[in-house]
C-alpha cells in the first residue's frame, strides 16, 4: 500500500521533472538560437546594439507571473499550457545570452581581428574561426546564467498549466504540505546547481584552451 503510494509519487515526480527539463531546454535552445546570431549581428553597431539590448532588457523587467498573465489572452501564442510558458521563458533568457554574446564579440582583441582581415579571411571565416571561438567562454557564461534563471522561473510556469516541478510547489502551498513543496523545490534547486556546475565547467575548459 505504502510502496504503491511511493511509486505513484516517484512516477509523478519523474514526469514533472521531465516536463521541467523540456521547458528549460527548449526555452534555452530557442533563446540561444535567437540571441547568439542577433548578438553577433548587432555587436558592430552601437545603435542596433542599444536597440536590441534595450528590448531584451524590457522583457526581463516584467515580473514573471505578470508576463505569463499577459501572454495568456494573446491569440496564437497565448493560452494555457506549455507553449505559452516556453515563450515567456525565452523572453527571460534572451537578455543574458544576448548581452554576453555582444560582450564576447566586442572583447576580441582588435589587433587579432585586424590580423584576420589582413590574412585574407572572409567575414564568415573571421566569425567562425576567430570571433566566436574567442567569445565562446563569455557566451557560455551567458547561457549558464540564463539556464540557472530559467530553471527557477520555470517553476512558476505551473501557474498557467505548463507542468514541471512547480506543480508540486503550488500544490504544496495550496494544501500547506511542506513535503510536496520540498518535492518540487529540492529537485529544482539541484537542477539549477547541476546546470551551473556543468556549464561552468564547460566555460572554464573552453577558456583554458
Amino acid at each position: 500500500m505504502l510502496s504503491d503510494l511511493l511509486q505513484d509519487v516517484l512516477d509523478e515526480g519523474l514526469q514533472l521533472l521531465g516536463e521541467h527539463l523540456v521547458l528549460v531546454l527548449s526555452s534555452i535552445l530557442i533563446a540561444a538560437a535567437i540571441a547568439i546570431p542577433l548578438g553577433v549581428a548587432v555587436a558592430g553597431s552601437a545603435r542596433w546594439r542599444g536597440v536590441a539590448l534595450g528590448i531584451a532588457n524590457i522583457g526581463q523587467t516584467i515580473p514573471s507571473l505578470a508576463l505569463f498573465g499577459f501572454l495568456i489572452p494573446i491569440p496564437f501564442i497565448g493560452g494555457i499550457g506549455q507553449h505559452t510558458a516556453i515563450i515567456a521563458l525565452v523572453v527571460y533568457a534572451l537578455l543574458p545570452i544576448l548581452r554576453n554574446t555582444v560582450t564576447g564579440i566586442l572583447g576580441v582583441d582588435p589587433a587579432v581581428r585586424d590580423s584576420a582581415i589582413a590574412m585574407g579571411m572572409t567575414r564568415g571565416q573571421i566569425l567562425r574561426m576567430v570571433e566566436l571561438p574567442l567569445a565562446a567562454p563569455t557566451i557560455i557564461s551567458g547561457l549558464r546564467i540564463a539556464t540557472v534563471t530559467t530553471v527557477g522561473t520555470a517553476t512558476i510556469a505551473a501557474a498557467i498549466g505548463a507542468g514541471g516541478l512547480g506543480v508540486f510547489i503550488f500544490r504544496g502551498i495550496a494544501s500547506v504540505d511542506k513535503v510536496q513543496i520540498l518535492a518540487g523545490a529540492v529537485p529544482a534547486a539541484l537542477l539549477a546547481l547541476g546546470a551551473d556546475g556543468a556549464l561552468g565547467w564547460l566555460e572554464r575548459r573552453w577558456a583554458a584552451r
Binding site: A111, D114, S115, A118, M119, G120, M121, Q125, V130, P133
Partner: protein
Amino acid sequence: MSVVEFRGAGFAIGGRAILNNLTLTIDEGETLVLLGRSGSGKTTALRLINGMILPTSGKVLVGGTATSQQDLVRLRRSIGYVIQESGLFPHFTVERNIGLVPGLEGWEAARIKTRVDDLLDRISLPAKDFAARLPRELSGGQRQRVGVARALAADPKILLFDEPFGALDPVTRLDLQREFLRLRAEFRKTSVFVTHDVQEAMKLATRIALLHEGTLVFNGPPDEFRRSTHPEARAFLDVLNEARPHE
C-alpha cells in the same frame, strides 16, 4: 619593375587628411622603409597596399592593378603581413597560425605540414618543440618570429611589416633585425617596413621613404638619406648621431 605604385594616393577620414598625394613606386626585391614620426601616415600608406583601406584620392596599384579594382580577400592572401605583437591568433597553435593562409588557399594538409615545419626550422624554432605551442607559451621575440613565418607561409611576393619589433627589448630587437636581413637574403621578397626608429631604418632599408605630416619629404637610399638637408630628415639624423657611441 615596380610591384607597388602609389599614384597621387591620399587618404582622409572625416575631412582630415592622413596621407596627401603620395607618389611612390616599390620595385621587386627591395626593402622600402617607411620612416616617420607617430601620425605621419606611414601605417596608413602600408595599409593601402593590401587593401585594408582604400585611397580616398588617387590610386594604389599592386601588380599593375588598382587595389580598388581587385578582389581584396585574394589581394590580402597574396601579401604577407606582420604587425607589432605579431597579431597571432591566441587560440591557434603555432602550427595552425603559420598554416592559416595556405589552409585558406586550399593547400593539402601534408603540404601545409611540410611548409610549416620548414619555416619553423628556418626561423630557429624547431617544429618538434614549437609546432604544438600556443602563442602565450612563447616569448615576445619567438612570437614575432612566428609572425614572420606566418607571413611567409603562402610564399607571397610582397611582405608588409608594421613596426614588428616596436614592442621588443633592444637585445631581442637587434637579434630579430639580423634575422630579418638573413631571411631577406634567403627569400628575396619585396618588403615594405614601417618604423619610427631611424637606426632600424638605416640598417634594414635598401630605400627610405620619409613621411612628415602625411607628405613624402624624402625618397632614396640610406646613404643619400644621411646627406639629406630636409629639416625632418635632419631631425631623424640628429637622433642617429646622438645614439652613436662616443669615439
